[in-house]
Amino acid sequence: MGVGIEVQNLNAWYGSNHTLQDICLNISANQATALIGPSGCGKSTFVRCINRMHETNPIARVTGTVRIGDVDIYKDAKPVEIRRRVGMVFQRPNPFPTMSIYDNVAAGLKLNGYSNRRALDEIVEKSLRNSALWDEVKDDLRKKSGASLSGGQQQRLCIARALAVDPEVLLMDEPASALDPVSTSKIEDLIFQLKAQYTIVIVTHNMQQAARVAEQTGFFLNGRMVEFDTTHKIFTNPSDKRTEDYITGRFG
């Protein structure tokens, strides 16, 4: 089951650049939440704070509270545990170049000591089917390296890799930016399916996509969250002028 996420007074820095300022929001369990906003406004930084990836950058700093379920992730848990519960698909596809397609998907489990061949086979197939990549790679799972796939295929491979460790929350940073319309709609279908099991946060520049998949939408601008509401409200009747300007294409 997915779990809810509660963010309070989240601040994040890269060196002296105050990238996120006083972000507060509640993300509901088993829903998809879209984050929109112009380039450089802090969307990626925000999702990286939810699985404690932000702090892996030596110049980065973060303050505030993030609760996932009933765990205060910056107080009560180790980063490694959090990242296992909160999967992430990065903005740029990053498959492991030295590993086969199969090993890429199984990496999270294998590297954590999981070695049941049968179960691994099943998980790999299921994850690849879920990320709409199975049909394209099923014949050379072990022959081809992850890096030999096309950009869009690599992105779907990364989605499969994140799904394979069976997280409770899935953070997707523009998962469809390198995909053709068919794969994109497959990914969107996937998001619909996955809501039953996961809580999903999806960063997107595509308004239609946000409107199609997400129940809730947050609008970021210059490191602040300007408005957070149901997707319907954001796209039909936003309360903030800046949100309206952005979604009607007046800037950004």
Binding site: N51, M53, T56, P58, P79, V80, E81, R83, R84, R85, G87, M88, F90, R92, N94, P95, F96, P97, T98, M99, S100, A107, G108, L111, N112, S145, C158, R161, A162, A164, V165
Partner: protein, 289 residues
């Protein structure tokens, strides 16, 4: 409007292209020429003395003709084995520390500086140091001491190339591993190191090939031995030592053997490097390049 400009530009461009290509080819030839020259000369001088005996027999006493370098070949293999066992793990370990765990720390700066200084230490000084540190306390020369001297000489090269190669692994790969909940140490060993392995292996081979021909560090450590020995605790023969002794001798027969020894040394190094390349380019490490 540009169409009249275009042909002229393109002719100039072609000329430049031609000039630069010729320079590159010339440079390549200049680099390759000494190599081919040296190898050709070795073959010319040494090939005639090569026989089965050379690989199967030890040296004959002065005055008797014939004999070979079997003991020196085995000795070199043993000493280099010890050296690799010391130099490669320590060097790679140091490289991992510099690139992954110690980034930006004072200790890393100190380690990097030490490695660079160590790289510049003349090999004869290395031999003397090991003489003082191991040979004197043990009161005897040994293959082991020779291996340690060469092993320490391998460390800086292996360490710095490993560091460079690890730093070339894109950060996105590290993030990918951390992002699926893999602990950092595991990610370093199973992912970053593996991604960098082709370059690291090249670094190890370079270091190996460099010390394989060293004579000076062995003079006061392995010493040399006219008899067959594979005992780590005894003085041992090594190809460079044997070549050195034979080349300085007044006998024509020994001079010829020295040439043959030099030829064999080079061929063995090339074989060892190719073998490692062959083995690592398939099997477990396949796809690593």
């Amino acid at each position: 409007m540009r169409s009249d400009l275009f042909p002229i530009r393109s002719r100039a461009r072609k000329l430049t292209d031609y000039a630069v290509t010729s320079l590159a080819v010339l440079a390549t030839l200049l680099v390759v020429a000494p190599l081919v020259g040296i190898f050709g000369y070795l073959v010319y001088k040494g090939a005639s003395s090569l026989s089965l005996d050379f690989f199967l027999k030890g040296p004959k006493p002065v005055g008797e003709s014939g004999g070979g370098m079997a003991n020196a070949i085995a000795g070199s293999a043993l000493v280099l084995g010890v050296a690799s066992l010391i130099g490669i793990p320590l060097g790679i370990g140091g490289g991992i520390f510099l690139a992954e765990f110690g980034r930006g720390t004072k200790l890393a700066t100190a380690v990097r500086f030490t490695a660079d200084v160590l790289n510049g230490v003349p090999s004869i000084v290395m031999g003397l140091s090991i003489y003082a540190l191991i040979v004197l306390p043990q009161k005897h020369f040994s293959a082991f001491a020779g291996g340690v001297a060469l092993g320490i000489m391998m460390i800086p090269t292996v360490c710095r190339t490993s560091e460079e190669m690890l730093l070339m692994v894109p950060n996105a790969i590290r993030e990918a591993a951390l992002g699926i909940g893999v602990p950092n140490w595991r990610s370093v060993l199973s992912i970053t190191l593996k991604t960098a392995s082709p370059g690291i292996i090249t670094g190890c081979m370079l270091a190996f090939a460099r010390v394989a021909g060293e004579t000076a560090p062995l003079l006061f450590t392995a010493l040399g031995n006219s008899f067959w020995s594979t005992n780590l605790n005894e003085p041992i023969a090594a190809l460079p030592l044997q070549i050195y002794v034979y080349a300085l001798s007044p006998y024509d027969d020994w001079h010829r053997l020295a040439w043959a020894g030099a030829l064999v040394l080079i061929i063995l190094i090339v074989l060892a490097v190719s073998l490692v390349r062959f083995v690592t380019s398939r099997g477990v490490l396949k796809g690593a390049s």
